[in-house]
């Protein structure tokens, strides 16, 4: 029972990570079995559910798991799933969102001052989500962790005995979208005494002593208790910045530590023995989290997707970041339908989002929601367990992807765009729109995480907090235009993520991370072309002088505009012989190809525009393209004509030649019923 490659091994069976969400506690129990059956008929081997603390706790310390309300009978639900041939993915929180009041937390916990996150003025931090605004808990609060532990104990009594091999539970998730409950502006929170104490220890650990910390921060710290975090941005020169950058990094560390602690507490409650996941919310580029750090404390980390088709570039960028940063690109929530207070999502939107994410590297997902419920619309199965027309479309997709063993295929990319965490943090602390419209919120709304940053140079030649993103974005545009496959990588990703790359592009300005610079030098020694610039840094993250030696055979560039980026990409293509498979015209249509040891196996063709377009795809060899959805076959010697309706992603199996017989079908994974 483990994650194996990009599959889930359960005993002798390996299955793709495909699941569908269903909330037992919101449905008539009579609807459970028919809904589970329809979910299985959609080709999903796993059913996922949250288990809401605030629903099961009927009074302080008293929990109902079906004795009082049959809708709360979690054990029966899990057992029914097993009877219907399904595995089970449990997400016990402690917080779950799920469009629930107080995000599924008990009201008494939310209004317990010792549990509440604190603003700079020690006020509660209010989340304005419907149907009722509420003060959010603190990820540092000892009281909150104690309370959450008691919840884990309670739900563990029901779930633990049903964990594989004793039952059908094969996946667990720790917490949910841990990023300060969407109140994630740099100075929104958390100034809870427990958080400040943690921050003080973090600073001492970083600098080794009070005097060193005081010097780095330009503050007076007579005692450890005087190390107070900044409450607003007032930096004007480089030497002012370490204090803010440390605070931004601490916010990431607090989340990682909280998840580690919660996972440990889950294990104490018996919620262990199977892979544990965590999901990251929209706008991850602007969130106070470290993707590699979270990935290191769970077994599987993924991104949640709720994008309309018109947000093609965001779907693409997020997936490329996931594919570049983690081993198994996964989505714990691939939105199907939406809550009423989101921008409306159609079936077409959900399908385009899922297909495009697959196109750029996703290898597993959880359809959220597969079954309709309160405060949701648009699922393929309604709340009575009856399939809507869309269910058949999803079923066909999953069936065909499973048949071609899509989870085992790889999209090769030799170019990586590196996000420097120190610049990302600088962008967060210089954000001007406050916590109610944080960098993450801007990104989630279709903007970028630097759109709200001040434009001051802060003593540097230009506003690094904006420029780094623009350099990477322009380079991404040029790579896209040239149809060169690439990924984005978090700069703190492990070394394994950089292996096999021909080119690494990383913006560098007057200050930069010295350890990462050394990693680049090591990569360059192994033959990777390092593209950096516009500056050779002179300062490290503490704004102390540091000698940065240029990596071997590296290129220093200045990307001011699209022409600069295009010239760079053209040179990189020539010098590194970068492959550009299955190119398509006209632009801005895009293609991606996924292959195994034999060669290219699956081709995606995407039309992100509002106009139908007839495209021409260049073929490396004579082949036949089989549309997975329609069954249409398109053959060509050197090119193939593919008609693309507006806002459409078409998926083709690549068959070597017109004479090659169609591949044999593999049955979809399914748990044996009792």
């Amino acid at each position: 029972m483990r994650i194996e490659g990009r599959t889930l091994r359960v005993g002798r069976e390996r299955m793709p990570l495909l699941s569908g969400a269903m909330h037992y506690f919101r449905l008539d129990p009579d609807a459970w079995r028919p809904a589970l059956r329809e979910l299985r008929n959609m080709g999903l081997p796993i059913v996922e559910t949250y288990t809401p603390w605030g629903v099961h706790e009927v009074s302080p310390g008293e929990f109902d798991f079906g004795a009082k309300d049959p809708r709360h009978d979690l054990g029966r639900f899990i057992d029914l799933a097993a009877e219907e041939g399904l595995w089970v993915f449990i997400r016990p929180g402690p917080h779950i969102n799920a469009e629930m009041t107080h995000f599924g937390l008990p009201e008494r916990v939310v209004y317990d001052k010792a549990c509440q996150a604190r603003s700079p003025r020690q006020n509660p931090v209010i989340l304005p989500f419907p149907p009722q605004m509420f003060p959010v808990p603190s990820y540092a609060s000892e009281r909150f962790h104690d309370e959450a532990g008691l919840w884990y104990d309670a739900v563990g009594e029901v779930v633990a005995p049903r964990i594989y091999p004793n039952g059908p539970v094969v996946l667990l998730q720790v917490d949910n979208e841990a990023s300060y409950y969407f109140r994630n502006g740099a100075f929104d929170q958390d100034y809870h005494p427990d958080a400040i104490a943690m921050y003080q220890r973090f600073i001492i650990e970083r600098y080794g002593s009070l005097p060193a910390a005081a010097k780095a921060h330009g503050q007076r710290y007579p005692a450890e208790s005087d190390i107070n975090p900044p409450t607003r941005f007032e930096g004007q020169t480089p030497k002012d910045l370490p204090r803010y950058l440390d605070w931004a990094e601490f916010q990431e560390r607090l989340i990682t530590n909280a998840l580690t602690r919660m996972r440990g507490r889950m294990a104490e409650a018996g919620l262990t023995g199977v892979p544990v996941t965590h999901n990251v919310a929209l706008g991850e580029a602007g969130l106070p989290i470290s993707l590699p750090a979270i990935d290191s404390v769970v077994d599987l980390m993924g991104l949640d997707y709720y994008h309309p088709a018109r947000e093609h570039r965001t779907i693409k960028r997020r997936t490329l970041l996931l594919a570049g940063t983690v081993e198994l690109p996964y989505s714990p929530e691939m939105g199907v339908g939406a809550p009423p207070w989101f921008t409306p999502l159609t079936h077409g939107d959900s399908m385009y989002c899922a297909l495009t994410a697959f196109a750029y590297g996703l290898r597993g997902l959880n359809l959220y929601m597969a079954v309709d419920r309160d405060r949701w619309y648009g699922s393929p199965i309604d709340a009575r367990g009856r399939s809507r027309a869309e269910a058949a479309i999803w079923r066909d997709l999953f069936t065909r992807l499973t048949e071609v063993r899509f989870e085992e295929l790889t999209r090769k990319a030799e170019v990586a765009l590196v996000i420097p965490p120190e610049y990302r943090r600088l962008s967060r602390v210089t954000h001007l729109f406050g916590g109610l419209v944080s960098p993450a919120a801007l990104e989630a709304l279709g903007g970028t995480p630097v759109d709200g940053c001040r434009e001051d140079g802060l003593g540097f030649e230009g506003p690094i907090q904006v420029l780094w993103w623009q350099m990477l974005a322009k380079t991404a545009d040029a790579l896209t235009e040239a149809q060169v496959p690439y990924v984005w990588i978090d700069g703190d990703a492990p070394d394994a993520r950089f292996e096999g790359l021909s080119v690494v592009v990383c913006p560098t300005y007057e200050f930069a991370s010295a350890p990462r610079w050394e990693r680049f030098r090591a990569l360059a020694e192994n033959g990777t072309t390092i593209v950096y610039g516009p500056d050779v840094p002179e300062l490290d993250e503490a704004m102390a002088f540091h000698h940065f030696q240029a990596p071997k055979d590296s290129r220093r560039v200045l990307i001011d505009d699209a022409a600069d980026a295009q010239a760079l990409v053209d040179e990189l293509i020539r010098e590194n012989d970068l492959p550009r498979p299955f190119q398509v015209t006209p632009r801005p249509l895009e293609t991606t190809v996924h292959e195994d040891a034999v060669g290219p196996r699956v081709l995606f063709v995407m039309n992100p525009t509002r106009d139908p377009i007839t495209s021409t795809v260049t073929l490396p060899a004579p082949c036949r393209l089989l549309d997975l959805a329609t069954g249409e076959r398109i053959t060509g010697e050197t090119e193939a004509e593919v008609s693309m309706p507006k806002l459409t992603c078409r998926v083709f199996v690549i068959e070597k030649s017109a004479s090659e017989p169609p591949p044999k079908r593999r049955p979809s994974a399914r748990r044996k019923t009792k």
Partner: protein, 369 residues
């Protein structure tokens, strides 16, 4: 007013999107917009195409001495070198950069608002009360010159208290009752919504999936089906206090109509069914009819006020109307009028239309009642 246990159910993608589009066509507009295909857009003046190309919001953050720290267009991206000319320049800036509206705020204001909100909210406040508190804080910031907004359609409208809003809601949707609206489009059900209220709070929002379960399949004639719907909703949800049934095109026109008489005329010819019609609605329709007649007669009589000769009668009617509470009188403004004005601003038209468009009728502010 809004229950923390609010249940929202019974919609699919189409019916929910249709309902949203009725009252917020901007949402549909955004769904149709093609966003930038790059993560590095920079808007400049040349992108603005004039009045016909207005969209999104221009956001400006000001530092000390009115120094522009950031300027950003929500649909076009960052703006370089915006020249700030004070509050009075917001309209011109909107035209220059192709924005439908503008928001200028001083650095730190957003954080200040968040702190004030945390202090004002009480445990147990419902969502409407909470947003009223936020609105009041926003107005305080405007009054203190910390926030500038353009345009300001509700400038003269006071922020009502929670109690005031509750009283207004009591008129439209009393406790233990429901309201229902069903819209048809070319003979097919377009969307339906029913709301119920218990213990002072709206506790359920129900869509056509559930309605169909209660009523059975709907036909294409709302003039015939409305009684069946009302009976079914009354039995399954709560007694219906107000029902509105209409063809989509008619309802869209009425929601944007500012001229008097439009609703009354539509009801009279059964282009809209109001059933049941609570006392206020009946009086409002009657008043709307009178206003419509007054406007029409003034037009026909070349400006002569027809009702001058009947002023003792109108005085009598006016005094009786006061006995029946009106939403407008309770809130201090007419929400239907505000909605129509907002919708019309989003879809600028050279002229206003009546339900039976056969010409144009200018809005007339003179109210004989």
């Amino acid at each position: 007013m809004i229950s923390p246990d609010l249940r929202f159910e019974g919609f699919d993608v189409e019916s929910w999107t249709n309902l949203v589009a009725l009252f917020s066509p901007g949402v549909v507009e955004r769904m149709e917009n093609q966003p930038a295909m790059t993560d590095a857009p920079t808007a400049d003046k040349r992108e603005a195409g004039g009045a016909s190309d207005l969209r999104g919001t221009l956001v400006v953050v000001l530092g000390n001495g009115d120094r522009v720290l950031k300027s950003y267009h929500t649909s076009r991206g960052p703006i370089v070198d915006l020249e700030w000319g004070g509050r009075e320049s917001l309209g011109e800036l909107c035209r220059t950069y192709g924005a439908r509206r503008a928001l200028a705020l001083r650095e730190g204001v957003a954080d200040e608002m968040a702190e004030r909100l945390a202090l004002r909210l009480q445990r147990g406040d419902d969502y409407a009360t909470q947003w009223l508190a936020f609105t009041r804080i926003f107005r305080e910031m405007e009054d203190a010159g910390q926030i500038y907004v353009y345009p300001r359609p509700l400038e003269k409208v006071p922020v009502p208290s929670a109690g005031t809003v509750k009283r207004a809601l009591d008129i439209i949707l009393p406790d233990d009752h429901s309201v229902v609206m069903t819209v048809w489009s070319k003979g097919r059900p377009f969307t339906t919504v029913a709301l119920s209220r218990r213990n002072g709070c709206i506790d359920r929002v129900v869509g056509p999936d559930l309605l169909t379960r209660w009523v059975g399949p709907l036909g294409g004639d709302f003039r015939r089906d409305h009684r069946v719907i009302v009976d079914a909703v009354s039995g399954a949800l709560a007694p219906v206090h107000l029902g509105v049934f209409a063809e989509l095109s008619t309802l869209e026109e009425l929601l944007r109509a500012s001229g008097p008489g439009a609703w009354a005329q539509a009801v009279a010819v059964r282009d809209v069914i109001i059933y049941p019609a609570p006392p206020y609605a009946a009086v409002a329709l009657g008043a709307d009819a009178v206003r419509g007649v007054a406007t029409e007669t003034r037009r026909l009589l070349g400006g002569v006020d027809f009702f001058q000769a009947f002023s003792p009668l109108t005085d009598l009617v006016r005094s009786r109307i006061a006995e029946v509470a009106s939403v407008k009188a309770t809130l201090g403004f007419d929400p239907l009028h505000a909605l129509s004005a907002w919708l019309r601003r989003r879809e600028p038209r050279a002229e206003e239309y009546s339900v039976h468009a056969g010409g144009t009728r200018a809005a007339d502010s003179r109210d004989p009642l």
